[in-house]
C-alpha cells in the first residue's frame, strides 16, 4: 500500500471568498502581517501498489478536482 496525497486549490484567478473571509478575520484576532489566504482541500488516499500515476491523475482530474476552477497536485508520500 502507498499513501497518496492530492492537494486541490482554487485557481489563482478564481475568487476565493472563503480564503478572503479567513484573511479578513486574522487582523480582528490580533494577527498582523498576513496579506493573503487561499483555502483548498487535501485528500489522503491509501492506494494499492499496482495503481499507477496515470490512474491517480485521472481520479484527481475527474472527481477530486474540477479543472475548470481548481488546480491539483498528486504526490506519493511515505506511509
Amino acid at each position: 500500500m502507498a499513501r497518496v496525497v492530492v492537494d486541490v486549490m482554487p485557481k489563482q484567478e478564481i475568487l476565493d471568498p472563503q480564503g478572503q473571509a479567513v484573511a479578513t478575520a486574522l487582523p480582528r484576532l490580533g494577527f498582523e502581517g498576513i496579506s493573503e489566504v487561499r483555502q483548498g482541500k487535501r485528500f489522503e488516499l491509501e492506494v494499492a501498489d499496482d495503481v499507477d500515476d496515470a490512474t491517480l491523475a485521472k481520479i484527481a482530474e475527474t472527481l477530486l478536482a474540477n479543472p475548470v476552477i481548481e488546480d491539483f497536485v498528486v504526490r506519493r508520500v511515505e506511509a
Partner: protein, 225 residues
C-alpha cells in the same frame, strides 16, 4: 399525446415535485426519472432540478455526474434532446461537461434566498423562445454556490455566440462573472440557470408566473418536432 418531460430525482433533490408541476402546467406529461436507472423512459426532454444531490459532498454536482441516469442524459443531449438544469441541476450539467464553466461559492459567502430580477438576453433557445428579448422576469433565487465562473475565452465565446440566456438585473447577487445567471450550449438545446423558474409558475405560490415561459417554450419545440 402530450410530450413527455422527464424530471430526475437524486438523493437530496428538493425541487423535483415543483419541476414536475411546472411541466404539467405547461401541458406536458411529467415523467419521474430515478438517478440509479440508466433509462430515460422515452421522454422528449429532461429537467435536472435543484436541491443538494448526494448532499453536495465534495463539490456541488460532482458526484451526480456519475449517476447512471446522467450517462443517458449526456447521450440524449448529444442527439439534440432539450435539457434544462436548474440551480443544483445547472451545477450538475457543468460538472458533466454539457455546459461550460463552473459554479462556486457566492462572493459574499452567504446563502442567498430572495426573489430576483433577471433579464432575458437570448430568446432563440429551446427554453426561452416564449420571452421577449430584454424582458425582465422575477423568479426566486436560493443558492449558496451560484457564482458563475469560466475563463475569459469561454466568457467571450458565450457572449459572442449569444449563449448567455439570462443576466441578473441590478446587483449581482452572488458574484457571477459578467452577471451571468443562465447559459445554453452551442445548439440552444441544453440550458442551465441558477434561479428557479419552476417556483414561479403561479402567483398563488410564487412571486409571479414569469417562469412558466421556459416550460411553454420547450413545449413549442416538442410539439413542432
Amino acid at each position: 399525446m402530450s410530450p413527455k418531460i422527464g424530471v430526475i430525482t437524486f438523493p437530496g433533490t428538493l425541487d423535483d415535485v415543483d419541476a414536475q408541476r411546472a411541466a404539467r402546467r405547461a401541458g406536458a406529461e411529467a415523467v419521474p426519472l430515478w438517478h440509479a436507472d440508466a433509462d430515460l423512459r422515452g421522454v422528449d426532454a429532461v429537467i435536472v432540478p435543484g436541491g443538494f444531490s448526494y448532499g453536495d459532498y465534495l463539490r456541488c454536482g460532482a458526484i451526480a455526474k456519475f449517476a447512471p441516469v446522467m450517462g443517458e442524459v449526456v447521450r440524449a443531449a448529444g442527439q439534440g434532446m432539450p435539457v434544462l438544469g436548474i440551480c443544483n441541476g445547472f451545477q450538475i450539467l457543468c460538472e458533466a461537461g454539457l455546459l461550460p464553466g463552473a459554479l462556486t461559492r457566492n462572493s459574499a459567502l452567504h446563502f442567498v434566498c430572495r426573489d430576483q430580477w433577471l433579464k432575458v438576453e437570448n430568446n432563440t433557445s429551446a427554453w426561452t423562445s416564449r420571452y421577449d428579448q430584454g424582458a425582465e422576469l422575477l423568479v426566486p433565487l436560493k443558492s449558496g454556490e451560484g457564482a458563475y465562473m469560466a475563463d475569459e475565452a469561454v466568457l467571450d465565446e458565450l457572449e459572442g455566440e449569444g449563449r448567455v440566456l439570462f443576466r441578473y438585473s441590478g446587483d449581482d447577487p452572488n458574484g457571477s462573472l459578467r452577471g451571468i445567471a443562465g447559459i445554453t450550449d452551442a445548439r440552444g438545446r441544453v440550458a442551465g440557470l441558477m434561479p428557479h423558474p419552476e417556483h414561479a409558475i403561479d402567483p398563488l405560490t410564487g412571486p409571479t408566473d414569469d417562469g412558466l415561459g421556459m416550460f411553454l417554450s420547450v413545449l413549442d419545440v416538442l410539439v413542432a418536432a
